[in-house]
């Protein structure tokens, strides 16, 4: 059931994710994170490194910040500004970066 929902969501967002003008959508969204988490999610002090983290883990953490399930100082406020589709794109970008 859970897998079915994931696939349905993936299909729903697919037309946006692959359109030509959105080729860099993940990169562009993820660039915002770099001022705290380091360029491409690498090399930052005091903040969680994001580069190379599994996509599912990134999505889980981000959505838990958003729901309030995971306590935070700032991320519960930042994460509320992003849609599921945008979280997927950001997670995809960071998961593809070298640690």
């Amino acid at each position: 059931m859970r897998i079915a929902i994931v696939i349905a969501v993936a299909l729903a967002v697919a037309p946006f994710a692959v359109s030509a003008q959105d080729k860099n959508a993940g990169r562009n969204l993820a660039a915002s994170c770099a001022m705290c988490h380091g360029t491409d999610g690498r090399g930052a002090v005091g903040y969680e490194p994001l580069a190379g983290m599994a996509k599912a883990e990134l999505v889980r953490k981000f959505t838990e910040f958003r729901s309030g399930a995971k306590p935070a100082t700032v991320m519960h406020q930042i994460s509320k500004g992003y849609t599921d589709q945008q979280i997927q794109l950001i997670a995809e970008y960071f998961s593809a970066q070298k640690k």
Binding site: A20, Q21, N24, A25, R27, N28, L29, A31, S32, C33, A34, M35, C36, H37, G38, T39, G43, A44, V45, G46, Y47, T73, V74, Q77, I78, S79, K80, G81, Y82, Q86
Partner: protein
């Protein structure tokens, strides 16, 4: 968009500065040249990210200072818990991305010929120009300011550097029982919470070194502009009886002989006069015809950061006519830079720029040596109103000052310096 630098161009470039040196020679064939004026949080980030995202684009950054001095954390230098060395960073990190550095003053822009003129001679031609000039001051709004500043009796210290050092020295020299007078201009100005963080840091120093002294904030705004309840709580609890806030207290003059700041209805005496004048986009934006609003700020298309006045020129950071609820901050400049970098790379490659950019801001303020508070926001493209707007339900401030965020605030500074410069 592929083009060769012709001999005339090359001689101009070579003549512009020896600093271009070998890098200039190595890129005789290039897709396009982007010139970036200003090496602050906006300009340096844009230069780096353009090279990261398309190394075939030549990037020349023009900056008057050969070292970066950070405004964020400079209030802690005034308070004595950090040093100038900790807020100064070299530009060499940008060279590894292939950014060509020219340490000179950009004196004019000819947008028709797409040329930037430099003070020490030589012109730089560009395909796209990024102007990230920060702010300059409207000294004439405060009678007597420039003379008083010239004699060192009044400082702003609202650009980190020589005046940060001068203000710290004045605070050290002030007698115990003296008054530090901080005058805040009407919003919008650079770093909305900055004055109130400064009040905390100076009070923190007084508490340790000169406990009978006072911080008096004369604010042209009716109330504390940013994180008001959190700052007021810090003043009441950490610096009891030391910090006084007066709203609707706009400075209209300074008199160094009587050591006073003139308000509309009274003169107020202080021992150290830290008067922050009203601000506008930096001088080069004015000269380049980029200022579109109230003779102060530069209008931009937030999807690309391209000027609404001059095609082919992008404007970043504090110089922009801010979108609704968007602060003039180093964080925002760093984020503007990434919008512009993505747009410039796309446009040079004949692609459509990102139709709906989204950026996030976090501004930390230290209320003591180790406790901080924040304000965060997420800004997204609104196609109806054609601007960036905050996402409903997102963003917010700290529930209370805390040491955990003090750690994050310092790490934020280290990380944004890295993201901007290295």
């Amino acid at each position: 968009m592929k083009r060769n630098i012709d001999r005339r161009d090359f001689l101009k470039l070579a003549g512009a500065a020896a600093a271009l040196g070998a890098a200039g020679c190595a890129t005789m064939t290039t897709k396009a040249r982007v010139v970036v004026i200003g090496g602050g949080f906006g300009g340096a980030t844009a230069a780096k990210y353009i090279r990261m995202w398309d190394p075939a684009i030549e990037v020349v950054m023009v900056e008057r200072a050969n070292i970066f001095t950070s405004c964020p954390i400079s209030n802690l230098v005034l308070g004595g818990s950090k040093t100038m060395e900790q807020i100064r960073h070299g530009y060499d990190g940008l060279r590894k991305y292939g950014v060509q550095l020219v340490f000179d003053e950009a004196t004019a822009v000819d947008a028709a010929k797409r040329v930037v003129k430099l003070e020490r001679g030589g012109d730089l031609t560009y395909d796209r120009l990024i102007v990230a000039p920060g702010i300059d001051f409207m000294f004439n709004e405060i009678a007597g300011y420039e003379t008083a500043m010239g004699s060192g009796r009044v400082v702003h210290a609202w650009k980190a550097g020589a005046q940060t050092i001068a203000l710290r020295k004045q605070l050290e020299a002030m007698k115990d029982g003296g008054v530090f007078l901080l005058s805040v201009p009407l919003a919008p100005y650079r770093c909305p919470p900055g004055p109130y963080e400064r009040a905390c840091q100076v009070a923190s120093y007084f508490k340790k070194a000169k406990p009978r002294s006072k911080v008096l904030i004369l604010d042209a705004n009716p109330d504390v502009t940013s994180k008001g309840p959190l700052f007021k709580k810090a003043w009441a609890e950490l610096y009891k009886g030391m910090v006084e806030f007066r709203g609707n207290a706009k400075a209209i003059g300074v008199d160094p002989r009587t050591s006073t700041v003139k308000l509309e209805v009274e003169d107020v005496k202080g021992d150290v006069l830290n008067v922050v004048p009203p601000q506008r986009a930096g001088d080069i934006a004015l000269k380049a015809g980029l200022i579109t609003a109230n003779n102060r700020w530069c209008g931009v298309d937030w999807r690309t950061m391209e000027s609404t006045a001059v095609k082919g020129v992008h404007v970043l950071g504090d110089a922009t006519l801010s979108a609704p609820l968007m602060p003039k901050s180093g964080s925002m400049a760093n984020q503007h830079a990434k919008i512009s970098a993505a747009a410039v790379v796309a446009m040079i490659n004949g692609q459509a720029p990102n139709p709906e950019p989204k950026i996030a801001n976090t501004c930390y303020s230290f209320v003591s040596d180790d406790e901080a508070i924040h304000v965060a926001s997420v800004h997204t493209w609104d196609n109806k109103d054609k601007t960036l707007k905050t996402v409903p339900g997102s963003g917010g401030v700290s529930p209370a000052r805390n040491v955990l965020e003090g750690g994050y605030a310092w790490a934020w500074a280290v990380n944004i310096w890295q993201d901007t410069l290295a």
